[in-house]
Structure formats: structure tokens, C-alpha cells
Amino acid sequence: MAIQSLYIINKSGGLIYQTDFPLPTNSSTSTSTTTTTTPSLTRLTANDYLVLAGTLHGVFAIASRLTPTAVKLTKTPPPSSNILPSYNNSGLRCIETEQFNLYIYQTITGLKFMIITTPTVADLNYATDVAETAMKSCYEVYSDYVMKDPFYELGMPIRGKAFERRLWELIVGK
């Protein structure tokens, strides 16, 4: 499970940050792996990314409306004791496809972090927890390097170089 892409969506469904990360490749077969075994995601146009973010923002809300009656009757939301819990009580959390997995993490202010990873072979519930931990780390970077930036306007696209550098250090490790 390698992180391929990160999206940050503000509380009204606008995309404020999007980046693709290079997949870790073996140094011996660096030329062939990118094309054959680990295909990366298709690059879309900037407009397509905005549409995608908006769609997911809507689907996120719809998914919580779809909760089956049987669950509504019996289940209570599990108590979260950990630091920075996901405030995603009933919305969309994980999407599994043949080519990639997508995970969504929501903060208390309605900001959504989404990461796309390569398909996992591990248990999906476990993978979701791992992905959520990774997104929490991104949230910490966001709090430090975006929220404390005096020139940043809330809800606007993130352009800070420090944030980007710190994020790459975190995910890619260089």
C-alpha cells in the first residue's frame, strides 16, 4: 500500500490542494516498473480534479443517508478515545476499486483529507485505519504550515511552499 495522491477539500466541497506522489520503485527495474506492474493514476486536467472533489463531497453526504435501517436501529457511534479522531461518523470512508483504494478523513471543521493508495492485500478495515493515521499526519502538517501561515486565506487553494516541502518529506521521505 503506497500513497499515490493526496487531496484536501474545504468544508464547502472545493478542492484546495491536490498532489500526486511518485510510487516507490525498485532501483534495478526502475524503467519498467512504472509502466507494467505499478501503473500510476491518470493525470486529469485541473478542472476535472475540481469536479471530482465536488462529486465526492456530495457522495460523501449521500452515503450517510443510505445507512440501512437495521444499523440505524441498533448501532451507536463507537466512542473515539484517540487524539484527532475522524469526525466522519456516517459518511463515506473507503472506496475499493481494482486499480486503487481511496480513503476519506474528516476533521472537526469539515475539512476533508483524501488519499489514494495502491490496492491493498491486507484487511480493508485495518488498511482504513492505517490510511487514517497517514491522513492525521497530513492534518498535523496542514495545521502547522497552512493554518499558521499569515498570508493564507481560509478555504482558498494552498500555495505555500513550506507546506508542500514538509508534506513530501512526510510521504515520500525526501
Binding site: 449521500i62 440501512p68 475499493e96
Partner: protein, 168 residues
């Protein structure tokens, strides 16, 4: 392992079958498959083709449709065979929805609890063994569910679905 509901959408985007199990099946009650097929057990409660589910069906179809488009858009250019069926499931904190689409555009959706890993094979089985046998090969069933609100009311299909998901 709990299955909450099961949905079939045809290629005209209409929901042609929906089944919601409201009472959770006890694992102890379904110990023998023969017992569940003869006597109505807890798994047989719930609603079949309920009118209350019309809006839910539309919402579910919209969700599936959007997610499928997103997954096709982002997927690296692959063969056309796999791209039709690239979406496998999506999950919230409360449930997981499994998705299977046939080449003819029929969509099968099953909602389950989060501990169910993968229902692709099961949904494929439902299509191959239950849908094809009871609906496609049934001369009394319409070929195309063109009219809004037309549903599968075939007794053997309903029974087959209940029996199959009862054994899971």
C-alpha cells in the same frame, strides 16, 4: 457477517429489485441450510420491493454511478474488459456496499456490515445462477424492465435470493 440489503438495477437505471432484511440473522439459527429453506426464519423478515425504498434506490444508484465514473476516470488506461467492473465496494463507518456489474449493464449491490471482505463472487453467483435461471430463462418475465416501477415479482427469484443470502 450480516447482509443488510440487496439491490438490482437494470441498464435503464431503474431499480428492478430491492430486498431489505431488517432483522439481523442469528448465527445460531442458520446452522443447517435445510432448516432455513423449509421454515421461515428470522432472515425472511424485512421488505421486498418496498415503495419506501424508491428514494433510497435513487440515492444508491447515484452514489454507485458517481463512484464508478470517478474510478474509471482515475484508473490508469487499462483494457476495456476490466474498466466496466473496476469499482468493487465502498464503505462508511456503518456499512459496506459491494458492487458487481455485468456486461449487459445490470448492477448488483449488496450492503453488509464492515467485517465482510468481498462479495464479488457471491454477487456473480447471484447473477449466474439465480438471475439468469429465474428471470432471463423465464418466459413470463419481461425481457426489459422498461417501465418505471416495474419490478421482479417472480416467486422463485425472491425465494432463491432469500435462500442464498440466508446461507451466507
Amino acid at each position: 457477517m450480516t447482509i443488510y440489503s440487496f439491490w438490482v438495477f437494470d441498464r435503464h437505471c431503474n431499480c428492478i429489485y430491492n430486498r431489505e432484511w431488517t432483522q439481523v440473522v442469528n448465527p445460531s439459527s442458520s446452522t443447517s441450510a435445510s432448516a432455513s429453506s423449509n421454515t421461515p426464519t428470522a432472515s425472511l423478515t424485512g421488505s421486498i420491493n418496498s415503495k419506501d425504498n424508491e428514494d433510497t434506490a435513487k440515492l444508491l444508484f447515484g452514489t454507485i454511478f458517481s463512484l464508478r465514473n470517478i474510478s474509471n476516470k482515475l484508473s490508469p488506461s487499462s483494457t476495456t474488459m476490466t474498466s466496466a467492473n473496476s469499482l468493487k465496494s465502498f464503505a462508511t463507518t456503518n456499512y459496506r456496499a459491494h458492487y458487481y456489474e455485468t456486461a449487459s449493464g445490470l448492477k448488483f449491490v449488496a450492503m453488509s456490515d464492515l467485517n465482510v471482505k468481498d462479495l464479488q463472487k457471491e454477487l456473480r453467483f447471484v447473477y449466474e445462477r439465480i438471475y439468469v435461471d429465474c428471470v432471463v430463462r423465464n418466459p413470463l418475465c419481461p425481457v426489459d424492465f422498461k417501465h418505471q416501477g416495474k419490478k421482479i415479482t417472480n416467486g422463485s427469484f425472491i425465494h432463491g435470493i432469500d435462500r442464498f443470502f440466508g446461507t451466507l
